[in-house]
């Protein structure tokens, strides 16, 4: 009994140690081919190594009149039979061909193992042993492995996502699961953020399909074979066949692509302008709405042919690429933009720089006062170019399976030479300068006017006249005193007649001065 107890304790200890080891050394695909029997060995050890050990069976030695070797062999073989059958079902030994011979070959290990077990059992007829005790022994070595297999077959489909209507769903999921432990796994891919990401690395070309692939709700995937294109799948989850692998992901959502290009105007000015293209793959007549959601309809697209055309319309354009990249194709989602770029470069030379910024002549209501188009009513040249480009792009790419949603020439058209903008600013400034100069000139004129008015001081002029006139009359020296007095009075009179002075003089001033002047007049 003590030995049995030690065996049991040893088994538990061995289980713990082996489990820790396998946990720390998970299956890892090296990228090279692994032969079928090596796969089988890896899977046996990694999956069922803990249950294959005959240690529990050894406890039964001595309980029945059966040789210890037979008990040990049966303790090992019976679980092995179960596991080999499981592996045969799970396709661990699956060969690329589906011929009967290959199918039979995959079952050979299980068949041999079962036959060997039966032979061992046949040898038991030589011994007399209690039947029911032997049956309990058989139950002891059979039930736990069987339970493990049942659990795996039940659990594997629950942890790997698969659509319920997938053909042979449970079997394929089991194959996916078991394949992982062979160190030669069946590949699994998931599309995230529009990119195919490998979750479990496998080699589909070594004949170990199927693989597993799940897309996002908005993606399609083109699958390729070894040298051919197989099919377009998605959106959703699916199993890939042998040799199939993702070739390209197509995003079914609305797409917008923007680029800046250089083009030359009619007047030879090089401008840099942004162009955009809004598009998507043609969704056909279906739309996404609450009804489609209730029906669990996939993201709509018209047909696989569109997708095929779009993907294989991609061009190899080495322009601007390094020699290493020169052979790479321009992605499918660049096609509409590329068409737009070409068209814009054709259209821009039809316009001058002035026209690019202005409203299209005749496109709106003309203001009779200024003779210009009322801005609110006119169309931008940029918009007109955009519409023309859009139409061209539509004609070019919609037959491929695209649907053009919009696009055109965006903001902002900038001359590549900054001097052009500077010149335009200078032009704009000119009208402003004229006004400022006008103001300055006005101020100067006013100043001059004021000065000139002041210089015409009446008093100075008057006295000048007095002196001039007086001097003229000095030739007659006999009457010089009289003349002086007379003209003095005359000038006083002149002063008094000044309107500003007159207002301030008494009313008698003028008559008095006039009378005195008369008195000094003489002969």
């Amino acid at each position: 009994m003590l030995v049995r107890f030690i065996i049991l304790v040893g088994y538990v200890a061995a289980f713990s140690a082996l489990r820790a080891y396998l946990r720390d050394h998970p299956p890892h695909f090296e990228g090279k081919h692994i032969y079928e029997f090596e796969r089988l060995g890896q899977a046996l050890v990694r999956m069922w190594g803990l249950l294959l050990w005959p240690l529990p069976g050894l406890m039964w030695i001595g309980t029945m009149p059966i040789p210890a070797l037979i008990i040990a062999i049966l303790s090992f073989l019976i679980p092995l039979d179960i596991f080999l059958v499981f592996f045969a079902i799970a396709g661990v030994l699956g060969l690329p061909s589906k011929s009967l011979i290959d199918k039979f070959s995959s079952w050979l290990p299980a068949v041999f193992s079962i036959l060997f077990t039966l032979l061992i059992l046949l040898t038991l007829v030589r011994y007399a042993f209690p039947f029911w005790q032997f049956m309990v022994f058989l139950a002891f070595v059979t039930i736990p492995p069987l339970l493990a297999i049942i659990l795996v077959m039940w659990a594997a489909p629950n942890i790997i996502p698969a659509t319920p209507d997938e053909p042979r769903r449970a079997l394929r999921l089991l194959q996916q699961f078991a394949g992982f432990f062979t160190t030669f796994p069946k590949p699994s891919w998931i599309v995230e953020d529009g990119e195919v990401k490998t979750r479990i690395k496998g080699n589909p070309f070594l004949g170990v399909g199927p693989g597993w692939l799940m897309t996002e709700p908005e993606n399609l995937v083109v699958l390729k074979g070894g040298t051919d294109i197989k099919r377009v799948v998605g959106p959703g989850m699916l199993f890939t066949e042998a040799t199939e692998s993702p070739y390209q992901v197509i995003d079914l959502r609305n797409q917008i692509r923007v680029a800046r290009i250089d083009a030359r105007t009619q007047d030879g000015i090089e401008v840099n302008l942004p162009i955009s293209s809004l598009f998507r793959t043609d969704p056909g007549y279906k739309t996404i709405n609450m009804e489609s959601l209730a029906n669990q309809d996939p993201w709509p697209y018209r047909n696989q042919r569109d997708i095929y055309q779009i993907v294989f319309y991609e061009e190899v354009d080495p322009t601007g690429k390094t020699p290493l990249e020169a052979h790479q194709v321009r992605p499918w989602d660049d096609i509409p933009l590329k068409a737009a770029i070409n068209r814009v470069k054709q259209v821009i030379p039809e316009y001058s720089l002035e026209q690019l910024y202005s409203l299209v002549p005749g496109s709106g209501t003309v203001d009779p006062a200024s003779g210009k188009i009322i801005p609110e009513t006119g169309n931008l040249t940029r918009s007109t170019i955009g519409a023309a480009v859009r139409e061209t792009v539509k004609a070019a790419v919609e037959p491929l399976g695209f649907q053009i949603l919009g696009g055109g020439v965006g903001n902002k058209i900038v001359p590549t030479n900054p001097d052009v903008v500077k010149q335009r600013v200078e032009t704009w400034k000119a009208s402003w300068m004229s006004k400022v100069m006008d103001w300055e000139t006005d101020a100067q004129i006013q100043n001059l006017k004021d000065l000139s008015r002041i210089r015409s001081d009446a008093r100075v002029e008057l006295l000048s006249q007095i002196l001039q006139k007086t001097s003229m009359r000095l030739e007659d020296k006999e009457n010089a005193g009289r003349y002086v007095a007379h003209h003095l009075l005359e000038n006083l009179l002149h002063l008094a007649r000044n309107s500003q002075v007159k207002e301030l003089l008494p009313e008698s001033a003028l008559p008095t001065l006039t009378q005195l002047q008369e008195l000094t007049k003489g002969e």
């Binding site: 803990l50 965006g410 004021d450 100075v460």
Partner: protein
């Protein structure tokens, strides 16, 4: 353990089966080995049966533990999870989720996003459910499962189906965004305009309630319309194949797409002077006619543009399932520094005008004052002369000219002595006159005057020089 429609009863079934198998084996063991353990000559101690039963139990446990370990190893790599998360995932996938609190795993969605403190298997977009979604009052989600859109969920607490993931989150709260629209004017000058927009997911009821009674406030402050949420979530634009922010959501689409395009298309129809033209307003306030060519454009009222933009944006937004509350535009300003400098120069010139005018006005006033003084002096001169000569006039006889001249000189002397200001004005003239008279009488100088010559006042004119 309680179960519901989502919590799997399979664990109970499996546990029960395992227990039954174990008990059945133990019973079978006892029955089969009963004769061998109780006779006196029995070679098998009864404790051996206990040991076999325990060994069977251990073997069963090893089988179950092995399977769970295999599943965890597979899930770890298949879903790219940590060991612990893989174990939790296996547990939840096989046994379902607990119905009693704490309800885990739980993915909280609030403020328009999934909270990063949620369990990894839920939020990392790797596996999804089973679990719970707790969607706050301000958010709505669209879920996906196995590569297809699954459900639209508004605020509330939900059970996530196995592999059901949050595909998109829509923020139900009002949104405000600022935008700078750069454009070229019709005169080819780069300019920009800042704009603000406030909008919100459309839906019924969000403005229908009134706080007439406190008890009547709605449980959900924001509208939720599943069809519109689905529309918004599926109307995104993808900008590039990779990189952060490669997807343009409904908010960016409305602001950077619709508003930016509409505003630019509108503003680009105008010249720069249409937006901001001090020259126009300067001339308008003066009522003057501008001689510059071309004449200044009348600036457009930005509020009118704003109203049109707002109206158009409301129309566009309604088609998309969004309500636009308001659009506000900032002033249109030029990119070019030269423009701002020009405006500054213009403003300076405009501001300088009253200063210049004031200076000139003061200048003129000073001269006017001098002129007035001159007039006053003339009045005084005439008045003084008049008073002197009135006596001569009353005699009605011939008045000697010399007497008149003497009277004049007497007046001048009196004025000169009385007021230095008058002296300044009159002295020069008197001096000139005396010179003339002296010249007439040849060396006879009856009216000699002082030789000193006062300084000329500013602005006065030297009569000698004029002659």
């Amino acid at each position: 353990m309680r179960t519901n429609e989502y919590q799997s009863p399979r664990l109970i079934v499996v546990s029960t089966i395992v227990l039954i198998v174990f008990l059945a084996f133990t019973v079978a063991l006892l029955v089969a080995f009963f004769p061998a353990i109780f006779p006196e000559d029995a070679d098998l101690h009864p404790l051996n049966l206990l040991l076999f039963s325990a060994a069977f139990g251990v073997y069963l446990y090893v089988a179950i533990a092995t399977v769970l370990e295999l599943l965890a190893q597979f899930a770890e790599q298949f879903y790219d999870l940590s060991r612990e998360d893989a174990r939790h995932l296996i547990q939840y996938l096989l046994t379902g989720i607990p119905v009693e609190p704490p309800k885990r795993p739980l993915l909280r969605i609030q403020e328009g996003q999934t909270l990063p403190d949620g369990p990894l298997v839920m939020y990392m977009d790797k596996v999804g459910g089973p679990g719970y979604f707790s969607v706050a009052h301000d958010s709505a989600i669209v879920t996906g499962k196995l590569g297809k859109l699954r459900r639209v969920l508004g605020p509330g607490f939900y059970t996530a189906e196995p592999f059901e993931k949050v595909w998109d989150v829509i923020d139900l709260r009002p949104q405000r965004r600022s935008l700078r629209v750069e454009f070229m004017t019709t005169d080819g000058i780069p300019a920009y305009c800042d704009a603000e927009i406030r909008f919100q997911v459309a839906g019924s009821g969000h403005t229908d309630f009134a706080y007439s009674y406190e008890e009547n406030i709605p449980a959900q402050p924001y509208p939720f319309n599943p069809a519109l949420i689905l529309k918004l979530a599926t109307s995104k634009y993808v900008k590039s194949r990779e990189g952060a922010g490669r997807v343009q959501d409904w908010r960016i689409g409305l602001v950077n797409g619709a508003l930016d395009g509409l505003l630019r298309d509108t503003l680009e129809k105008y010249s720069l002077d249409h937006f901001f033209n001090p020259r126009y307003w300067a001339l308008r306030s003066e009522g003057a006619i501008d001689k510059a060519s071309p004449p200044p454009e009348k600036p457009i009222a930005l509020l009118e543009i704003q109203a049109k933009i707002e109206e158009e944006m409301k129309r566009i937004a309604t088609d998309r399932g969004i309500v636009v509350d308001m659009v506000q535009l900032g002033p249109v300003l030029p990119d070019e520094e030269a423009i701002s400098r020009q405006w500054l120069e213009f403003w300076q010139a405009k501001a300088q005008r009253p200063v210049t005018a004031y200076n000139l006005s003061e200048d003129a006033r000073r001269h006017k004052l001098l002129e007035k003084t001159s007039v006053d002096a003339q009045v005084e001169l005439v008045t003084s002369m008049l008073s002197k000569l009135q006596d001569l006039d009353e005699q009605k006889s011939e008045v000697p000219a010399q007497l008149i001249v003497m009277s004049f000189m007497d007046v001048l002397r009196t004025m000169s002595d009385r007021d230095p200001a008058v002296q300044l004005l009159m002295y020069q003239q008197a001096e000139s006159l005396m010179r003339i008279i002296n010249a007439i009488q040849k060396d006879k100088a009856p009216f000699a005057i002082a030789a000193s010559t006062p300084a000329l006042p500013p602005g006065s004119t030297n009569l000698n020089s004029d002659q």
